[in-house]
């Protein structure tokens, strides 16, 4: 979990007790709070607007707003950071480039841009910050490209200005990959444009030729039109159509059938028949069908490519939010922010509470507790002091420490885990799309049918035999088949992303449709990923006293107890002293209150011993509360299971999934969570290291589909190796990069939706395939009967393609309607 999200969680937890304004979600002032009312409003204006919206029957606005707010993490606000690291040499080398003699430019991801007003505000930057020459925002990718004069302004000042506007900037990595993707997009568009123009012109010529068939046409002009069609058709094959031939050759070399193969066969047959018939001056030419085919297939592929790219872009934005900076301690004892990439082993860095360690190292001074769940899956904090090793990507929770850097970047434990992830991703069998699996059979069946047609006709009429056999190859060229999958997936991925489910690769949907084994990570996926009071035993009057004391600490245990107290009036505490890893002591309302571990409080009555034993049996951490030296209550703390977990897991199991828990946490804890979810003990694997997780995934892979759901770096290798990896909300950068799908809303309900939506999507794909194969069956029958003509092909082909388009966009896959 990044500090930003942690902050957001606490902000949400802190504002939770008072019901927010029903319209604007801001806290309601105590004076306007109406006890007993269904809805609370923070002001009269909000009440009026709410009434108007309701009166017009537009309540859906609130549902929409809530789903958007979940994704974007609340309203835009400035973070107040200084962005000194943006002026670093290492940062400049990585992200800034020279635009021309005078200007530098850089691309930054902005948090919270979403509408036309944002475009206006961001692009006014040259007016707000002197020295900025231009700011261009790309709304779809949340990416701004700024150009500035280095002599007049520094990048950190620009970043601060953007931050003040409420758009926290983050360096956008992989500028080269983005540039390559952009060029790829342009090439795609150019191919479509050429194919489209040629198809249009060929159809005009074909129209003249077809009308000529009916009303007569002079042979001279007929031949002229055919020659022009020939030129255009061959151009279409040689330029935009080249991709299919290249794909077909690649699939032959790899001995893996792909849909490109039957397409290339059809296109080649049409090209050859066309050339021969034009030269002969008689017989059908299929250039109109051929050029339209190229155009439609390219359009379908481009749509799918664009939809998946936008999902991938959204995920990339999320992991750009991870901090890539550190506080370097200079020899004179002060610290300044630098980019994490510019650290060297031997440097000393300062890490404050709630910050993420930028590198692996050893604690030099200070004490803190660290949350290492991202690396280990262990949900309980670990105390560290001088001499203890700490690792990059873990978070310091309570104290400030100085760390001597030992390893950076790829040398850190996270870096090595990431290398494992890349290795796992390489070894993963590529997902073979349904249509590609059909393609092999398709080629076999079509060529056999063509041979049969030839054999049937050859004794009656050898010329007709050749013509019919070739015509069969042409008209069965799988246009609708080629559109079936891209269109269904485009529609589904688009709908899913509006529901907060980002799917990076469409083929993943096909695999999620068929149940197999689902391995769930425990911490953060099934559970909430943070400590909370699960049980309070003993005197309930002690809750406010304990909360008063704990409100002085930012320790997770303290926060859990404060959250448990809710918004009840908390008295104030004085003389608070903390002993790290043990407890807190202080005076509240003139009484000495102690909250801490079992050994921290000396008093141990019989009921307490029993309560502690019960808590330990349920794998919860006991915290004792004592007033004036007498133990009065026991808080049992744990990582609570999400509310929707049980229902979601039951649904998944009813759908045929075998659900297993796979966690790095203590086996007892994992078993306890598994029990509460109704899972068998054998299906709860605890203390799993990343390597162990990978082994489990590989073992399960031999039985069939494996879906891994997780959020930490320790899950990343397993996510990459699994048939389909799903990263959940708040996940670490590594897991986002390794997964095929990302769920923006926390909890397990989106996983159920993802699986069910996938099943419906595959249903749509199947129906599409059925429709296009039915068309092909008709076409084959006509060919074998010797009845086919280029006119009939020109009518049948667009009909089948239109059917597929209609079926794809009409069907409900994710969510209700559009």
């Amino acid at each position: 979990m990044t500090p930003a999200t942690a902050e957001r969680e606490t902000a949400r937890a802190a504002s939770a007790p008072t019901p927010p304004c029903a319209h604007c979600n801001l806290p309601v002032p105590a004076g306007l709070f109406e006890p007993g009312a269904d809805r609370q409003f923070c002001c009269e204006a909000c009440r009026t607007v709410y009434a108007v919206i309701h009166g017009c029957g537009l309540e859906r606005y609130y549902a929409l707003r809530d789903s958007l707010a979940e994704g974007s993490g609340g309203p835009a606000r400035s973070t107040g950071a200084h962005y000194e690291e943006f002026d670093d040499d290492a940062f400049t080398r990585a992200f800034v480039r020279q635009r021309d003699a005078r200007l530098l430019s850089a691309e930054l991801f902005l948090e919270g841009v979403h509408c036309a007003a944002c475009v206006w505000l961001v692009e006014r930057l040259p007016r707000l910050v002197p020295g900025v020459a231009e700011a261009r925002l790309d709304l779809g990718r949340s990416l701004v490209r700024v150009s500035w004069e280095p002599s007049r302004v520094r990048l950190s000042e620009i970043a601060r200005a953007l931050d003040r506007l409420g758009y926290a900037p983050h360096p956008a990595r992989d500028a080269r990959a983005r540039e390559a993707a952009r060029r790829e997009d342009r090439r795609f568009l150019v191919r479509i444009a050429v194919a489209g123009a040629i198809a249009g012109n060929c159809m005009l010529l074909a129209l003249a030729l077809y009308s000529g068939m009916v009303s007569g046409i002079e042979a001279e002009f007929r031949q002229f039109f055919r020659w022009i069609s020939l030129g255009l058709g061959l151009l279409s094959l040689a330029w935009p159509g080249r991709v299919f031939f290249r794909g077909a050759i690649a699939s032959l070399v790899a001995r893996a059938p792909r849909l490109d193969l039957p397409i290339a066969i059809g296109l080649a047959a049409a090209g050859i028949v066309g050339v021969v018939n034009v030269l002969r001056g008689e017989g059908d030419v299929y250039f109109d069908a051929l050029t339209v085919l190229v155009f439609l297939l390219l359009s379908g592929r481009w749509l799918q490519h664009r939809q998946q790219r936008s999902a991938a872009d959204a995920v990339e934005l999320l992991y750009s939010l991870a901090p890539a900076w550190a506080r370097l301690v200079t020899p004179d004892g002060t610290s300044r922010r630098v980019g994490a990439a510019s650290l060297r082993p031997g440097d000393t860095v300062e890490v404050r509470a709630e910050e993420t360690f930028p590198a692996d190292g050893v604690v030099e001074s200070g004490r803190t507790e660290i949350d290492a769940s991202v690396l280990t899956g262990e949900s309980r904090p670990v105390a560290v002091g001088p001499g203890d090793p700490v690792h990059a990507a873990t978070t310091s929770l309570s104290g400030r420490v100085l760390v001597r850097v030992q390893a950076i970047g790829a040398e850190t434990r996270v870096g090595r885990l990431m290398a494992g992830v890349e290795d796992a991703a390489r070894r993963r069998a590529p997902i073979v799309a349904l249509t590609d699996r059909i393609a092999g059979w398709f080629v076999l069946v079509v060529t056999t049918l063509a041979a049969i047609t030839f054999a049937l006709w050859v004794r009656h009429d050898p010329a007709k035999a050749m013509e019919s056999a070739l015509a069969l190859l042409i008209v069965t060229c799988p246009c609708a088949l080629g559109l079936a999958t891209p269109l269904a997936i485009t529609a589904a991925v688009g709908r899913a992303s509006r529901r907060g489910i980002l799917v990076k690769g469409g083929a993943a949907l096909e695999h999620l449709a068929r149940p197999g084994v689902m391995l769930l990570d425990k911490t953060g996926t099934v559970t909430q990923g943070r400590l909370a009071v699960v049980r309070w035993e003993g005197d309930a009057d002690a809750i406010p006293l304990a909360a008063a004391l704990e409100s002085h600490s930012s320790h997770p245990v303290a926060r859990a107890i404060v959250a448990h107290a809710g918004d009840a009036d908390t008295p104030s505490a004085s003389g608070v002293s903390q002993s790290l890893g043990a407890g807190v002591r202080g005076t509240v309302n003139g009484r000495l209150v102690e909250v801490g571990s079992v050994s921290f409080v000396a008093d141990r009555p019989a009921w307490l011993v029993e309560a502690i034993a019960r808590a330990v049996a349920d794998a919860l951490s006991p915290v004792v509360v004592a007033v004036d030296g007498r133990a009065v209550a026991l808080a049992a703390l744990g990582d609570p299971v999400r509310d929707d977990a049980r229902a979601s897991i039951d649904t998944l199991r009813a759908d045929g999934w075998r659900v297993r828990l796979l966690s790095g946490d203590h086996p007892e804890v994992v078993r306890a969570v598994g029990r509460s979810l109704g899972l068998d003990e054998r299906d709860c694997v605890g203390a799993a290291t990343p390597e162990h997780k990978l082994r489990v995934v590989e073992h399960e892979l031999s039985h069939g589909t494996v879906v891994v759901v997780g959020d930490g770096v320790n899950d990343a290798a397993a996510l990459a190796r699994a048939t389909v990896g799903v990263a959940v909300s708040g996940g670490a950068e590594a897991s986002l990069a390794a997964a095929d799908a990302y769920l923006r809303t926390p909890g397990l309900a989106p996983i159920v939706e993802l699986c069910r939506g996938s099943r419906r999507t595959v249903g749509v794909i199947r129906r599409n395939l059925g429709a296009s194969l039915a068309y092909n069956a008709v076409a084959v029958a006509l060919c074998m009967a010797g009845l086919i003509s280029s006119l009939l092909a020109a009518v049948l082909m667009p009909l089948s393609s239109l059917t597929v388009v209609f079926l794809s966009y009409r069907s409900r896959t994710f969510g209700g309607g559009t």
Partner: protein, 54 residues
């Protein structure tokens, strides 16, 4: 009817011109972002004497 020998190539040349213009625009990146320009036209322009946009 022999005028068709002139008109048809001419039509194709015109179409080719259109395609050429599109390819130029695409290569310049005019189709990279199809979302923002639609939003960019919504706010009013500033009065020209203040600062014309480059």
């Amino acid at each position: 009817m022999s005028v068709i020998y002139l008109v048809l190539p001419l039509a194709i040349v015109l179409a080719a011109l259109g395609v050429w213009a599109f390819i130029r625009a695409a290569r310049q990146g005019q189709f990279d972002d199809l979302e923002t320009p639609a939003a960019r036209m919504l706010p009013d322009d500033d009065p020209p004497e203040q600062a014309p946009r480059s």
